[in-house]
Amino acid sequence: MAVIHDVIPAFELFQPMTVDDALVLQSRYGAKAWVLAGGLDSFDWFKDRIKRPEVVIDLSQIKELRGVRTVSDGIEIGAMTTLTEVVRHPMIREKYGILPKAAELAASPQIRNQGTLGGNVSQDARCWYYRGGWPCYRAGGNICYADTPSGLNREHAILDADRCVAVNPSDTAPALIALDAKMVVRTPRGEKVVNAEDYFIGPGIDITRMTILQPGDLLTAIRIPSTWAGAKFYFEKVRDRNVWDFALVNVASAMVASGNTIERIRLVVNGVAAHPVRLTAVEAAVAGKPRNEETAELAAELAVRGAKPLQHNGYKVPLMRNLVKRAIRGVVGEEAA
């Protein structure tokens, strides 16, 4: 059968108005259904005719999934809130500045106008073999093409790889983990709330999924506790092009310091594993230490411990090291972050 990567195949479209209706549809069509948020990840799959659902459930009409609400402890952001809305939201900018900073570095203006926070954190891997429709582990196959003697893995994982070496491409995910955000998930069995860092899974757990979401589940909102409101934030994304490009590595940190001493910190790196990597060991090690080059060096060395680079992504080790350094001590020569 000849292959063609153009023209979206026909499917049935549903545009529920409420989350309940969406869940009904999801349970009715199960694995046949594809849930569409902003759609920017989905369109690639559809147009390349690689993933071809019979039914698409478009969440765009569900009002309750949009907008930012203040809740008892912190804020709740609807999963369908666009990245632009997050970037422009005055209160988020003021208290949780790292999130808009990360969101603004994602993709391009048009994509941020359409792409949603829920979609950005839940997006699929960008491994070019996988996206090219090669039948790899992540596509349900029995091989990883990127981790072979001739594999092209410049953009791939240096940590926690298990057969598949793809990385998580999200920019907002590490920021949310740094903010200790909680993901609100509706399942057929009711609602559950999970820590952002537990929302993401590696290939060892499920090689075909990036998150805990199973068919029938729906991410409805993201809660950010006030724990880290107004903390000292650092976010940096290193990429090839200055717009519309995925992170080679990005780093997100939230730090509370008294004077020059680090009281507590949350430190997350993405683009190095199939899930954002929270560096708990580093967090513990630098707590109570002065915010200086020495501490930064210590953190950096600790961070890359156990890194297993592939042929073409060895540079990610020094890159991750340096970004962690910067997250601790800021960029020398610039205002401390």
Binding site: E12, G39, L40, K47, Q114, W244
Partner: protein
Amino acid sequence: MAGNESADPGISNQVKISRRDIIKGVIAAGAVSSTSYLFRGSTLLAQASAPGSVERLITLNVNGQQRRVDVMKQETLAMTLRYKLGLTGTKIGCDQAECGACTVLMDDVPYYSCSVFTHTVRDKKIVTIEGLAGADGKLHPVQQGVVEEQGFQCAFCMPGFVMSAVGFLKTNPNPTRAELAHGISGNLCRCQDYDKILTALMRGAEHMRKA
């Protein structure tokens, strides 16, 4: 529509050359009638009535007009605009939300129309490049800026850039050159005339502020 009224000079010339109907049919940016079969119907059978099931025949608000149009479930806005409404000013450069040539405004916000399902924008006000100039043909200030500065080269990316700029300038009417560059950074130009494009669009912003 702009598309329909502007019979292409090249083509009208051919109309002289030949009298056969098929050529009369060749008009720049075809009439809806000639293109309504770009896509055939959904291959799926009529769906069971379910919450959120959608009708194919919808009304779109495009450039201030209500347009009735038959839209497939999987149809993108770019295809609807180009092949069903004859608005070919909206270009398809990559069809993958990467180049911005298909950028249109929806409620004043720039979107990649190649990556929006037409059914999701029923309730939005859509403006394409054809809808910028006044009915009297008076150019939009941003268009004016482009003309004055001879912005762009092959101009395939131009409609998208202009729509992005107009959308951005509505939120930030007085940007620095760098801010404008960020605002329109979702658009690609392979003639790489970026420097002149920025000059032209900065001039457009200036006109917009005066207007």
